[in-house]
């Protein structure tokens, strides 16, 4: 067979076989595993933050409804008194809110995130 007789189909077949056998083009297994773990972490974190935001929204919504009901029943008197009390003690209330926020963040995100991945790695 003369060299000129190599057609495109044969050459394509050769290239396909050669590329398929090239070890450089095989993804290292540890690499994809690392990426999967990274993405799983991101997904879990996203889910936990979303859940926390929903819970936060629920609490704030409930407080707003309660304030509305109080206003309907007692007018603005009770709310004004509450606001004055908060304003007088804003430092201690801010500290308590800050502590509560940190605790909730650790409990709802930090610990759950840690436990989920600890469980995964123990399983693995």
């Amino acid at each position: 067979m003369s060299p000129k007789q190599i057609n495109s189909g044969e050459l394509d077949r050769l290239m396909r076989n050669v590329l398929a056998s090239d070890v450089d083009l095989v993804v290292p297994s540890c690499l994809s595993e690392r990426v999967i773990q990274k993405l799983e972490r991101k997904a879990l974190l996203r889910e936990l933050v979303l859940e926390l935001l929903l819970k936060g929204g629920l609490v704030l919504g409930s407080l707003a409804i309660l304030a509305g009901v109080l206003m309907l029943v007692n007018g603005t008197g009770l709310l004004t008194r509450l606001f004055t009390r908060f304003a007088d003690n804003w430092q201690i209330i801010a500290s308590l809110l800050f502590l509560a926020l940190v605790t909730i963040l650790i409990d709802q995100i930090g610990l759950r995130f840690y436990h989920a991945f600890n469980r995964e790695s123990t399983k693995g």
Binding site: L11, V18, L19, V27, V35, K38, L39, A43
Partner: protein, 191 residues
Amino acid sequence: MDDKTLIKKVNDGDLSAIRFLVEKHKGLIWHIIISMVGHNRDDEDLFQDVFLRVFKGLRSFRADSRLSTWIGSITHHVCVDYLRKMKKETDLRYNEVDQQSALNFSREMNWKETENQDLNKIVLAAIAKLPEDYRTVITLYHLDECSYRDIAEITGMPDGTVKSYISRARNLLREKLLAVVPDLAQIMDDF
């Protein structure tokens, strides 16, 4: 699992869907990275970067194209950005590419290095010396079985350019392989 279901599950945080997404598309991404950037210290970082971008962008993916071509085009962009950052020579003006590159390729190819190797190594060496765009296009075409249209979407080249790159790459390879292995047709029958 079809693209739509997969996207929905990944966006809902389904961990097995995330695993499936990575397993399904890792080959395509790796092939583009290796053919454009080659093996270097940053190839694994680029691979991770692509998946993080895909994961982030999946919520806004409108399914105008197939998921695989969308992921491929993200990979292509990441590699182009990387090459630009590294100030490597990449000629992205498709119309002007490669008569010159093709000539350089012919001159640079040191066939003495490979004459004692088997056919696989000779062909791989020849492919490795192809201009980057040719290499990317033929890898996608042969290894990932992408159509001309898919490759055009991934690389942003016009369809005609993709077709002509594949044809030119084939001709270059044929020419060079025959110069080294004159009885190539015979060998290929047994390949």
